[in-house]
């Protein structure tokens, strides 16, 4: 099986690799030591049964044939006849010549070859022993260290496991790599960057045995460490800077990315790293970083495509959380169980929706409209100055509210004096618009008796009909009428609207009026609408999590005139939203009282009877609309309803009824104090609105009931409720833990959990060795690859837990191991025997990742920015590429200055159109959780490295650097540049070739000075003065060649 010319092992690879790794292990790895005494169920039989038989005879009840399941020994016994293969129905059916009886059946497209049949037969002959799947049993508390013949080679326990395995196979470890190779390897692996020549020199000169540890400790302490490890975690967390579906708006989640970098740099123990991201908000006294970490659960894609059904998408997001949890933390393919019980692993649909139930109870909506209006729940991230301003603003509001109360209390004398006056009129001041709706004027205008200059208007499709008073307006349901609002209605603007309304039936839905902006995927602003016959009155920033909303308890009667009045007092609270029916305060329930920012609907119009793509007021009659620019007191509303309540109260001198009226509508001093308070509130509201927010997790007061959804469909019958639970086939849920995400995190990080620690150490192992001990980093289930070194994996997992989940210690242990320190060169025999280096008889070697390639080129050229974190950067990308595919997006405009040279993990990640120079090097699209990248080799890669302005500019900078700093002779200069790219020194032959290249290029550019000038203008960086253009262009070309060398694009 010659596979060595296909790419390296650290990728899912082609069919042959993925499938063959299991096969290889089955036939070689476990069998590699002298033929095993006994067939092993876990390592040989189960992979085979799972691959060929479980589809019909496995855990999935629906697909099960003949009621036979081969994954369950109790059931399988009837076809096995342990110890008596000739009596075994299983053996008979896989060997029979009768095509009608032969298993697997022809139509399954599956077969067993002779070796495999023989293996199963032997297994039956040996007693058909079953064992639980290794990965679902906790790693043992103590993993004994194997004894080894060569006691000197191991630098630590880790090496003993590797060596024991090599010795079993009759192999010897490779010699140690050169110090240059090791420091290059370790520096890239721990920081994602190349070592500087000075770092290399210092290390090479340091003969002490501790030199390695000193370098490792320096690298682990570098802030670049957090950036390096973050790169992998961003893939797992499907981190991106845009939402990913359709219009693909910006998601503004980069503060989470910065949290990851900081957490890794601070060496936050991995159990807390997990807990914070899954449930940081539920920790007692949760801090801002703990809450911020939960953005992890919100990094899934979101849609704002018109016409989307929010509930469908909300379910998608919950599913994505479960899938990511499964892949990133547990190494399980839980997503399979969204539509059916797992076909290979012991997980059911109920398990899936039970896990989903932990993640379904946040106050979220399935769509967003405009990401400036952050999807909820969201965490405000005020800067220290903003914090101070907010605190000061809140104090001011409180003080002015107290002052208003004082003023009102102090106005009793004035009230009585006013009451004593003989000429009191039943005024309801602040009337901005009064629309009798008796007549349609020219241009479909509707007269405003309170201000002739601001008439209303209606779509001509709406018609006049007999009204409460004179005529009224009858709505089609698809057409609206517009009335000028007192101002742009927002949190800090009081207003009231009142009118007569008659509906032809109890309105399940229907837009009464709105003052909103948005699309059918989300509106923000003020709204009064029908909700199952009741009136819903709200100020919305983002529904439902950032809104103040009330709903009447009473249903509006149909077919009769009802007087409706709503009033808002600019308090920003639900208590300030009042609804009156027929002149009386309507009893309401508060649906939401959490408006934290302005609604920013703009405009200045109340639109009645319709809203884009919402249900309108079909067949409803509207009459006598009045709009006030202040909140109304009760008696004023009564007056609007009956035309005499206030008149009568004045006549009666009814103190109780009139005192609130006096303070609200008459008294100038109260009005002044109220206005002062309003202005202070507006300032506070504006300050709150200016605070950056990020989507995070935050539980609803009551969990949302979860259901098993047939085929994963949101609209499947909801007749199978499920509670929050974890799969029964794994470790038990900790007894004292709460049934919420925090309890889930406790379960994940429980030392008995069989998967979390193993999956984590395996991922870190992959980071250093290019492949995990379990090659299928994303799948530890029965269909995943088996561990090449099971005891080592268990040892590392247990050690990781015992160390307090210390990631840096784990990394340190690996880079200082003798295993890691081996040279990577493999003689042909070894490569033939172990092409993928499964046995680790040599050191790791890998092509740099997309990010590392770019960062290394920038570093070599001395261009790399040191800045950590902050909003994403926009380096060079082909111009216009966003807009070309997506008219909702702007053209891509690259940054100027530092943004061109930031580390690649800060590059703006547009999910539907990722940076092409990163995709060319196997960066995933970040649409879904990915824990293992491919490593391919394509012609698009040389095109990037040779022609992308980013790399050309870096080569120019390196060329300039070698000319200025490299020394006197071309040999010195090119040696210097070579070391900046490849870390080691060039061989004589390499140097000779480079010098030739440089000299040839000097000649070519001397003959073509215009070409040299043009070439030196690639990128934003201006060509430096004082250097010969031909020499500089030749140096840049040669530097470019160096950056393209295998020695520069790989670690060896």
């Amino acid at each position: 099986m010659r596979r060595w010319h296909s790419s390296r092992s650290a990728r899912p690879g082609t069919a042959v690799l993925a499938a063959a790794s299991v096969l290889w292990l089955a036939t070689h790895a476990a069998a590699a030591p002298p033929a095993p005494a006994k067939v092993d169920y876990n390592f040989q039989v189960r992979p085979l049964l799972a691959d060929r038989c479980f589809v019909c005879h496995g855990p999935d009840e629906k697909k099960r044939k003949a009621k036979l399941r081969l994954d369950d020994p109790a059931v399988a016994r009837r076809v096995l006849a342990p110890g008596k293969p000739d009596e075994s129905e299983l053996v008979r059916r896989i060997t029979t010549a009768d095509p009608a009886e032969r298993m697997p059946p022809r139509k399954s497209n599956l077969t067993l070859n002779n070796e495999e049949i023989d293996l199963l037969r032997r297994w039956v002959a040996e007693g058909a022993e079953y064992k639980p799947h290794w990965a679902f049993l906790p790693p043992p508390d103590v993993v004994p260290l194997p004894s080894v013949a060569d006691g000197k080679w191991p630098a630590g326990p880790l090496d003993r496991f590797v060596l024991a395995r090599l010795e079993r196979d009759g192999l010897k470890p490779s010699a140690a790599a050169s110090k240059e190779d090791w420091i290059r390897r370790a520096t890239f692996d721990l920081t994602g960057l190349p070592p500087t020549p000075a770092e290399v020199d210092a290390f090479v000169a340091d003969d002490a045995p501790a030199a390695f540890a000193r370098v490792a400790d320096r690298l682990l302490a570098s802030p670049r460490f957090g950036e390096r490890l973050a790169m992998d975690w961003l893939d797992a967390a499907r981190y991106a800077d845009s939402f990913g579906y359709q219009a693909d708006g910006d998601s503004h989640v980069w503060p989470w990315r910065d949290w990851v970098i900081a957490a890794l740099n601070d060496n936050l123990p991995f159990d807390r790293f997990v807990t914070w991201q899954v449930a940081g908000d539920l920790l007692p006294g949760a801090t801002r970083p703990q809450r911020l970490a939960t953005a992890f659960c919100r990094l899934h894609r979101m849609t704002n495509e018109g016409g989307s059904i929010p509930e469908e998408w909300r379910n998608e997001y919950v599913s994505d959380r479960v899938q990511t949890l499964g892949t990133a933390f547990l190494g399980l393919t839980l997503e399979c169980t969204r539509c059916h019980d797992h076909k290979y692993d012991p997980f059911t649909m109920k398990d899936y929706y039970g896990l989903g139930a932990f993640f379904n109870s946040i106050d979220e909506w399935g769509t967003y409209d405009n990401s400036a209006f952050r999807p909820t729940p969201a965490l405000p991230l005020a800067s220290p100055e903003q914090e101070r301003a907010l605190a000061a603003g809140a104090r001011e509001v409180e003080a002015l509210a107290a002052k208003l109360r004082e003023v009102e209390k102090s106005r009793d004398g004035a009230f009585r004096a006013w009451l004593g006056r003989p000429d009191l009129k039943p005024d309801v001041p602040g009337l901005m618009g009064y629309y009798p709706l008796d007549k349609l004027e020219a241009d479909n205008r509707l007269a405003n008796l309170a201000g002739a200059k601001s008439p209303g208007s209606t779509s001509p499709a709406n018609t006049l009909a007999p009204g409460k008073v004179g005529q009224s307006l009858r709505f089609t349901g698809d057409d609206g009428a517009n009335f000028p609002a007192p101002a742009a209605l927002d949190r800090g603007q009081p207003f009231a609207a009142s009118f007569w309304l008659q509906t032809p039936e109890v309105m399940k839905q229907g837009m009464v009026f709105h003052h909103q902006a948005g699309t059918d995927t989300g509106f923000h602003g003020v709204e009064l609408s029908f909700d199952q016959g009741r009136l819903f009155f709200a100020l919305v920033r983002f529904w439902p999590g950032n809104a103040a909303a009330v709903r009447t308890r009473a249903t509006l009667p149909a077919k009769e005139w009802v007087h409706v009045a709503v009033s808002y007092d600019a308090s920003g609270r639900a208590s300030g939203l009042r609804v009156y029916l027929d002149g009386k305060p309507a009893e309401v329930e508060v649906l939401r009282d959490r408006l934290t920012k302005n609604v920013e609907a703009g405009g200045g119009t109340l639109t009645f009877g319709e809203r884009m793509r919402s249900t309108g007021l079909k067949g409803c009659l509207l009459d006598e609309v009045r709009i006030h620019d202040r909140a109304l007191s009760e008696i004023e509303v009564a007056q609007l309803h009956d035309g005499r309540s206030l008149t009568d109260a004045l006549a009666r001198k009814d103190e109780a009824a009139l005192r609130p009226y006096y303070l609200a509508a008459v008294d100038a001093e109260s009005a002044r104090a109220r206005e002062e308070l309003r202005q202070a509130r507006q300032r506070l509201f504006a300050a709150q609105t200016g605070v950056f927010e990020i989507m995070t997790m935050e539980e609803l007061p009551h969990p949302r009931q979860a259901y098993v959804l047939a085929r994963g469909n949101y609209d499947a019958p909801h007749d199978r409720p499920v509670g929050r639970d974890i799969p029964a086939s794994l470790s038990p849920f900790p007894k004292e833990a709460p049934r919420d995400r925090l309890g889930l995190a406790r379960w994940l990080t429980d030392p008995r959990n069989p998967l979390t620690a193993r999956v984590a150490v395996n991922r870190y192992w992959q980071l250093f060795f290019g492949r995990g001990i379990v090659a299928t980093t994303e799948n530890f289930g029965t269909q995943g690859a088996l561990p090449t070194h099971p005891e080592l994996l268990d040892y590392l997992a247990r050690d990781f837990i015992v160390s307090g989940w210390d990631v840096k210690a784990l990394c340190r242990q690996i880079v200082l191991s003798s295993t890691y320190r081996q040279r990577s060169v493999a003689a042909p025999e070894l490569r033939e025997r172990d092409p993928d280096n499964l046995l680790l008889a040599r050191g790791p070697s890998r092509r740099l990742s997309a990010e590392e390639l770019r960062d290394a080129a920038l570093a070599a050229g001395g261009l790399l920015s040191q800045k950590i974190g902050g909003p994403p950067a926009k380096p060079y990308q082909p111009p216009g590429m966003w807009h070309a595919m997506n008219a909702f997006l702007p053209d891509y405009v690259a940054d100027k200055g530092e943004g061109l040279h930031r580390r690649s993990l800060y590059t703006f990640w547009r999910r539907t159109s990722p940076p092409p120079n990163m995709l060319a090097f196997d960066a995933p699209s970040r649409e879904v959780c990915v824990v293992r990248r491919q490593t391919t080799s394509t012609p698009l890669q040389p095109l990037v490295l040779l022609n992308d302005p980013q790399f050309v500019e870096a080569a120019r900078a390196l060329g300039e650097r070698l000319l200025r700093e490299g020394g006197a002779t071309p040999e010195e200069k090119l040696t210097y540049a070579f070391r900046l790219g490849a870390t080691r020194k060039p061989s004589e032959r390499e140097l000779r070739l480079l010098v030739q290249l440089y000299r040839d290029q000097v000649q070519l550019f001397r003959a073509d000075p215009t070409g040299a000038q043009k070439f030196l203008k690639t990128g934003d960086r201006p060509p430096p003065p004082g250097l010969d253009p031909a020499e500089l262009a030749a140096a840049a070309t040669t530097a470019g060649a160096i950056l393209n060398l295998d020695a520069s694009v790989t670690t060896r």
Binding site: A15, Q246, N886, L946, S987, L997, Q1001
Partner: protein, 487 residues
């Protein structure tokens, strides 16, 4: 054995040609994948089509105004869609709350064309001239009701992200037929706007990145980073590449890693692409009568017409899967005016491509597909006026046509009810087929995908890739080859 095909430009590994290179590459890739999982190499049959040109009409063209003649809609223009016709089907959030959903007859006249007498609207005169080559399927249906999920489903077989696209599956299964160009090329009409496109539509999913579609753009750099930086001469670049090869050979001797050699081969392939891509995108040697065939737009790079001609040139040079995208069919409102423009842009070039391929003897082994991700409603979204209407998304029936290799020309397959709202049986009665069981006359997206693969000689149930322990395929666990469409 490996799935590395020697002729795949994205993987060329010169020293490691497989001894069985004479085999069909499809058999090779499929054989490998089956062999590795323990089954015998799959005996794949020989397909009629060697390559595909997929003219994807993004946004969802209105079948009632182009292909599916519904005189009843004109008779009942303005009347409400009857409940029994809607049958409780869900509508999108865009029209579900409309107070009125009036039927909208087409503003366009229909006539029969060709020997086969297929109905087409006056918007498609050029298509009419090749109608005897077309296999018009009026009974496609899908599940998704919004663009992003629907187009993702159509192009990858799943609404879920992370799955390989059709072109990736085909290049994975069949490999490349040329040494100088990618096997899977994507062309997008320039400057159309409307519903977005996404890199995932030509993504490789869990397959190797080498199977990713390579997007060509109109203009100076048809492929990202194809052109040398300004001021770098061909001689200078060649000199650099020669030295680079020598230097990498030194490294190969030192490290003994065959991966180095593979990378060296990629540099040569990249160099060849620098010549072959500009050559294929340059129409200078196309005779006038060919340019005329495609219509006046052909002179403007990036138009649908220019892309159709480019598709033919790519097909001639052995590109396996050529995926065009033409946006602009999402006509929720103002449909009569907008669709006229769309038809003007696409009708002539589509027909010209067919004629041109036929003249060159390429049509018999090239499969052409024309259609969008779903259809449109028979009722008007928004206001229906005397001369204006819009149509919302409609997944339950729509029209796609196939032509060329292995396809029965002059066939109109499947029908819809008189309202153009549901797929109908042979008596015109509405039926509601589902993907799980094949209903003759109704073609689910997976059925179309299965049929397309069949035409290439691929059994859609056997072109699989094992990922996360499961064998994935383009058609998920569904799909049925629609034999009636095959010549």
């Amino acid at each position: 054995m490996s799935a590395n095909e020697p002729l795949d430009p994205l993987t060329i590994t010169r020293r490691h040609f497989l001894s069985g290179a004479g085999l069909g590459l499809g058999a090779l890739a499929l054989g490998v994948c089956e062999a590795a999982s323990g089954a015998p190499a799959a005996p794949q049959f020989s397909g009629k089509a060697k390559r595909i040109i997929y003219l994807f009409q993004s946004g969802g063209p209105a079948q009632q105004d182009l292909f599916d003649y519904k005189p009843l809609l004109n008779e009942k223009n303005g009347e409400q869609l009857p409940d029994h016709v809607r049958g409780g089907q869900r509508l999108t959030g865009m029209s579900v709350n409309q107070a009125s959903i009036p039927l909208a007859g087409s503003a366009f006249k229909f006539a029969r064309h060709g020997k086969c007498g297929a109905w087409l609207s006056e918007l498609l005169p050029h298509t009419g001239s090749v109608v005897d080559e077309l296999c018009i399927i009026r009974s496609l249906f899908t599940e998704a009701i919004n663009h992003d999920p629907a187009i993702t489903f159509f192009q990858t077989g799943s609404q879920i992200a992370g799955r390989p696209s059709m072109g990736s599956w085909v290049s994975y299964g069949l490999g490349s037929m040329n040494e100088n160009l990618p096997a899977f090329v994507v062309l997008v009409t320039k400057g159309k706007g409307d519903q977005p496109l996404y890199a995932r539509l030509w993504g490789n999913g869990f397959l190797d990145s080498r199977y990713q579609g390579v997007k060509f753009a109109a203009g100076k750099d048809p492929v990202f980073y194809l052109t040398n930086p300004e001021g770098v001469s061909a001689a200078g670049r060649r000199a650099l590449l020669d030295k680079l090869e020598e230097l990498n050979r030194v490294q190969l001797e030192r490290e003994l890693d065959p991966e180095i050699e593979s990378r060296m081969a990629q540099y040569e392939m990249a160099y060849r692409m620098q010549t072959s891509v500009p050559e294929v995108t340059d129409f200078a040697n196309e005779p006038q009568h060919v340019l005329d065939l495609y219509g006046p737009d052909v002179r403007t790079p990036g138009t649908f017409a220019a892309n159709c001609l480019l598709a033919r040139r790519l097909a001639e040079r052995g590109v396996r899967f050529i995926q065009l995208y033409h946006q602009g069919w999402d006509q929720h409102g103002d449909l009569p005016r907008q669709i006229r423009g769309q038809a003007r842009e696409t009708d002539q070039p589509s027909a010209a491509l067919l004629k041109d391929l036929k003249r060159r003897g390429l049509l018999h082994d090239t499969l052409i597909i024309w259609g969008g991700e779903f259809g449109r409603t028979s009722y008007s979204q928004g206001k229906l006026t005397k001369d204006n209407y819009g149509r919302d998304h409609h997944p339950r029936c729509f029209t796609v046509w196939l032509a060329g290799a292995g396809v029965k020309g002059g066939l109109t397959y499947g029908r819809t009810d008189d309202y153009g709202y549901n797929i109908a049986d042979e008596h015109g009665e509405a039926i509601s087929p589902d993907k799980a069981t094949f209903t003759p006359g109704a073609v689910h997206v997976h059925d179309l995908q299965a049929t397309i693969l069949h035409l290439l000689g691929i059994d859609h149930e056997r072109l699989t890739f094992k990922f996360q322990g499961r064998r994935f395929r383009l058609t998920d666990v569904h799909g049925h080859v629609v034999k009636e469409l095959l010549a």
